[in-house]
């Protein structure tokens, strides 16, 4: 059986719960940072082809701002927090009170503010995940990039691509309650555990049938 065929609905539910808990904590952090009510959407766990992963984030060529961090420890993997450049600018303006921020590399303050925001959000996601699973997980220093979705997310699939042509995407989005209808999605989390991380993740949560 291939890597993905071994997954049952129960496994997918466990992964959904992981996305749920992580993003709920991140939403609380974001809410405090921006002094604004932030909602979290019901997380989605999908098993999809690589090209479809890109579609979930808006298409390979869509320009996004992304904070990437590598998770090290007992269940290594890759995590991305993805925003449209406009939403990233709005987040930073709200956070710092500075108007007219840009992410084209000139504006170091904007870059470092968003990096910090990504750091806090992914950090709270990961802390919640670590508490929930009792696994030791350490985030790397986050890395910020403004580029195409395909170029960014493919990087997170490299480890996985050695064993599979499909990815399990644990996706959660945060939305600003006041503008929910104007802007569909404010921020997206994508979690790609490394293939060898599924066993410790499932085991820690009492689902042991996955080998």
């Amino acid at each position: 059986m291939t890597f993905s065929q071994r997954l049952t609905d129960m496994h997918l539910d466990v992964l959904k719960e992981i996305g749920n808990i992580g993003a709920a904590h991140a939403a609380t952090s974001l809410s405090k940072l921006l002094d604004k009510k932030i909602d979290m959407r019901v997380p989605a766990v999908r098993l999809v082809e690589f090209d479809e992963v890109m579609e979930l984030a808006g298409g390979t060529e869509k320009e996004v701002v992304s904070v990437f961090l590598r998770i090290e420890g007992e269940a290594p993997g890759n995590m991305f927090f993805i925003l449209s450049p406009e939403q990233g600018e709005a987040f930073v303006e709200r956070m710092t009170g500075i108007k007219g921020v840009r992410f084209d590399g000139e504006d170091e303050l904007a870059v470092s503010a968003l990096q910090e925001l990504g750091n806090i959000l992914s950090g709270s996601y990961l802390t919640a995940l670590s508490d929930f699973t009792k696994l030791d997980l350490y985030p790397s220093v986050p890395s910020l990039s403004l580029d195409m979705v395909g170029a960014i997310l493919t990087f997170g699939l490299i480890e996985l691509s050695q064993v599979s042509d499909q990815a399990i995407v644990i996706e959660t989005s945060l939305t600003d309650v006041d503008h929910a209808e104007a802007e569909d999605i404010e921020g997206h989390f994508f979690l790609f555990p490394d293939p060898q991380s599924y066993y410790p993740l499932f085991k820690s949560l009492g689902v042991s049938s996955y080998e």
């Binding site: 403004l146 580029d147 493919t154 050695q162």
Partner: protein
């Protein structure tokens, strides 16, 4: 009068062929490398979106040959010669292999872009196929479009404009 012009889309870890007047493109290349092989006289070309350097890395029963530099280039060359292209006229243009993120980690995967470039060049050298133009490395993603009738490779990068090589 107006000929319908198709643009053939190559996905991630995918490979396709094109003949003039159609064009072929792949988008959002990061650490992946886009390899174009073409026979200028026949106006035939093929493009691969290579994700990993070496098929020996595969830990899969059913391996996707288009994912790896070595097997994808074998298939690219064979597909073109099967369609009447000449190996002796064959040329290559390559783009991609960026290092999208940089930070310290034990993982060798951080260097995947440069490793993909090396693997593609090594394989082309084995075939004695010259690389007549390249736009590789750097830190930016690329979308590339190849036109077999002009042999132009058009490259777009976010915040770095567009070039034709």
């Amino acid at each position: 009068m107006n000929e319908v012009l198709n643009i053939i889309k190559v996905g991630i870890a995918d490979l396709k062929f094109v003949s003039a007047p159609d064009r072929i493109r792949t988008s959002g290349l990061g650490s992946c490398v886009g390899v174009v092989l073409f026979d200028p006289r026949k106006q035939l070309a093929g493009m691969a979106h290579v994700m990993l350097p070496d098929s020996h890395m595969a830990k899969q029963e059913k391996m996707n040959r288009f994912k790896y530099a070595d097997t994808a280039l074998d298939d690219l060359l064979r597909g073109l010669t099967d369609n009447g292209a000449s190996k002796f006229r064959m040329k290559a243009k390559i783009a991609g292999g960026a290092q999208m993120f940089s930070f310290k980690t034990s993982s060798d995967m951080m260097r995947i872009g440069p490793r993909n470039i090396e693997a593609v060049k090594e394989k082309l050298a084995q075939f004695h196929i010259p690389i007549i133009a390249e736009d590789v490395g750097g830190k930016s993603g690329r979308t590339i479009v190849f036109d077999p009738s002009t042999t132009d490779l058009h490259i777009r990068k976010v915040n770095h404009g567009e070039v034709t090589i």
